[in-house]
């Protein structure tokens, strides 16, 4: 199977969907000339022209509203917000309008919009360009929230998001664009709302999202050496959440670590942990542990930004603590 980058997988999804349906168009700052910040729409302006690839002025609120209006007319906008930090400028259109119109029209208006953005640390850009704000959207009825972690997933999920008639907030990770992985040549879709077991294991379940999946997989390799078998579950869609897959895994292992790059307080890790406790209370040998970013803005530079968020080492420690203590107790 061809091995391509996360960014290239996005580009393939764009091309396939824009060819399939001329109503699909990409709107955002420098998505055309530049092919977007991380080049995921490179050369598509030439291929699809300015009607399907639209460069936009620095007007996050206006272009988000433009997505709402054009979607109400049957178009299928993919709106790119360059950094999730700037989605703060578009929240009114996303939350008060895009998320509400289907219900406010008593089901008549459909808004097939993909609000596509990227978040997280890893590019040393400091606190105004490195946030993880996904949980803002999970709490808003009417929105679907997706966080892919691999080239295979981003392509299949993005295509499904484009074809879905609900507004979708699609959050990529800036550290993943250059990550490579296998992506089949033939077309495929990944249904929204389905988790993926990135690695099967029996001793402990690790629920991780986005970039954290990468670290969790590395940690799992290292832990295997120590005889600890981790099952890595990637929800991929934060809402609707595939509770079944997560619960089945935890019922099997009896131990769970939730890893997110966002701070714990008020973050999605709380949602995951609650759902698991609610469903697996009697199966859990210990309470679910959350491993999240420290409660701080992301400091500048290559060193600190890695220290304030979870990484392979901290995941290993946390997992061992969960497994280890249990063994000590000899249950």
């Amino acid at each position: 199977m061809p091995v391509i980058s996360f960014g290239e997988a996005i580009r393939q999804a764009y091309r396939e969907e824009m060819k399939r349906d001329r109503n699909v168009f990409l709107l955002g700052e420098d998505v055309g000339r530049w092919g977007s910040l991380y080049r995921s729409s490179r050369d598509l302006l030439k291929e699809f022209g300015p009607e399907q690839i639209k460069d936009a002025p620095i007007s996050e609120a206006a272009i988000a509203g433009c997505a709402v209006g054009s979607a109400a007319m049957g178009m299928r906008p993919i709106l790119e917000i360059m950094y999730i930090d700037f989605i703060a400028l578009a929240m009114d259109q996303i939350v008060n309008h895009a998320a509400k119109w289907h219900q406010l029209s008593n089901g008549k208006v459909r808004l097939p919009i993909v609000f596509k953005t990227q978040g997280g640390a890893g590019r040393r850009n400091s606190s105004q360009h490195s946030q993880c704000l996904e949980n803002w959207f999970v709490n808003i009825p009417g929105l679907i929230t997706v966080m892919p972690s691999t080239p295979y997933d981003v392509k299949g999920l993005l295509k499904s998001a484009v074809r879905n008639d609900n507004p979708v907030v699609f959050i990529e990770h800036k550290a993943l664009y250059s990550e490579k992985g296998e992506v089949p040549e033939e077309e495929y879709l990944i249904p929204l709302g389905r988790a993926d077991i990135k690695r099967p294991g029996g001793d402990i379940t690790i629920v991780a999202t986005s970039w954290m999946v990468t670290f969790a997989l590395k940690a799992a390799d290292a832990l295997q050496e120590l005889g600890v078998s981790c099952e890595i579950v990637d929800p991929r869609t934060l809402w609707p959440l595939d509770k079944e897959t997560i619960i089945a895994s935890v019922k099997k292992t009896g131990l769970c670590l939730v890893v997110t790059e966002a701070p714990a307080e008020g973050g999605w890790s709380g949602e995951a942990s609650s759902v698991i406790h609610e469903a697996c209370f009697r199966d859990l040998k210990k309470p679910v542990k959350r491993l999240c970013a420290m409660r701080t803005g992301i400091p500048y530079g290559p060193v600190l930004e890695r220290q304030v968020i979870p990484n392979q080492a901290s995941i290993e420690r946390a997992a061992l603590e969960l497994v280890g203590k249990q063994q000590v107790k000899g249950q």
């Binding site: 936009a56 206006a62 997505a67 109400a72 259109q93 219900q103 406010l104 029209s105 609900n166």
Partner: protein, 326 residues
């Protein structure tokens, strides 16, 4: 303009005036539940501009939408019962008096000030790219002209040359905030220059003027000359909402002086000068009132949505049978 046309416009305004008054009564009886924003005195804007649109054209309105909606062609039945929260309302009674959608008549409104303007750029873009013979009108208030949405939307519409007529309905107040104190420029229309657009202002209490300008701008927009920004100067005779503390922000005298300049009185005078009999006008009024009395009686009979109806369109299920509100 010949008397016949003016008489038609007068009749349209009269319907809005009586409709608004009826709504106010229902609000006082607590049969309209949310904030309700009276329209009295601004009828020449709704009739002149919204009334000039075709059914296919799109209208984006505000938190003060009921007369815009009726002028656009939404049925008074659907608008009234929406405000009363009944299933026969435009939005099935789920939206209320400040936010509802009537797709059949291409009418949309919402209660976040200024936020309809960015949305208008999307309708305009779709119309342009799909090469449809339609236009989009976006109506908003003087207060909305201070929002970032106003600026971003006008710039976007202008650089993309979108088929949109932006109508600033300057009723001289944003709640209790007088336009002269909160809008930095002398005339809101002056802001057009910042988007390379011409400055257009119209007497918003002269229905012949508003209709003439509206027809002209709509025609030019259909020809691809859009977007346009037009300011219609009028006056909000009622409070921002029924029973607001008016005394805190304006004098009775000021209101009285504007009552003399309100659009129905002005149209009526002209009509009388064109040999239209006053009895003819009172007959017209009688007919409108009769129609509305029947409407009111009917509306009160309409059912409220059930919980199931209320929550069944939050999102479109991904999988058949998926529960929408788990």
């Amino acid at each position: 303009m010949i008397a016949g046309d003016l008489l038609k416009l007068y009749g349209d305004m009269l319907l809005l005036r009586r409709f608004d008054q009826m709504c106010m009564q229902l609000k006082l009886k607590d049969l309209i539940y949310s904030g309700y924003h009276p329209y009295e005195g601004q009828e020449a804007v709704a009739t002149g501009f919204c009334g000039a649109l075709k059914k296919d054209d799109i209208l984006l309105s505000t938190h003060r939408p009921h007369c815009h909606a009726v002028a656009k062609g939404c049925s008074p039945e659907a608008v009234l019962t929406e405000m009363m929260g009944r299933t026969s309302g435009c939005s099935g009674g789920l939206g209320g008096a400040m936010q509802f959608i009537d797709t059949a008549n291409n009418f949309y409104c919402g209660s976040v000030v200024g936020s309809n303007m960015p949305i208008a750029t999307g309708f305009g873009l779709a119309i342009k790219q799909q090469k449809l013979d339609r236009i989009c009108m976006c109506i908003f208030g003087d207060g909305a002209s201070n929002t970032g949405s106003f600026h971003e939307a006008l710039n976007l519409a202008a650089i993309w040359k979108l088929p949109i007529v932006f109508v600033c309905e300057n009723n001289q107040f944003a709640e209790a905030m007088p336009v002269r104190e909160f809008v930095a420029c002398e005339r809101i229309a002056m802001r057009a220059g910042g988007y390379g657009l011409e400055e257009i202002r119209v007497d918003g209490n002269d229905v012949e003027e508003t209709r003439r300008i509206a027809a002209d701008l709509i025609r030019r927009t259909r020809q691809g000359e859009g977007p346009f920004l037009v300011e219609a100067l009028t006056y909000r005779i009622g409070g921002h909402y029924v029973g607001d503390p008016e005394g805190t922000y304006r004098t009775r005298e000021e209101v009285e002086s504007w009552k003399e300049k309100e659009p129905l009185i002005r149209a009526r005078e002209k009509l009388l000068n064109c040999e239209v009999g006053s009895n003819q006008l009172s007959d017209l009024d009688g007919a409108v009132k009769e129609k509305l009395t029947a409407l009111r009686a009917w509306a009160l009979e309409q059912p409220f949505p059930t919980l199931e109806q209320g929550i069944s369109h939050v999102y479109i299920p991904l999988l058949a049978g998926e529960n929408v509100c788990q």
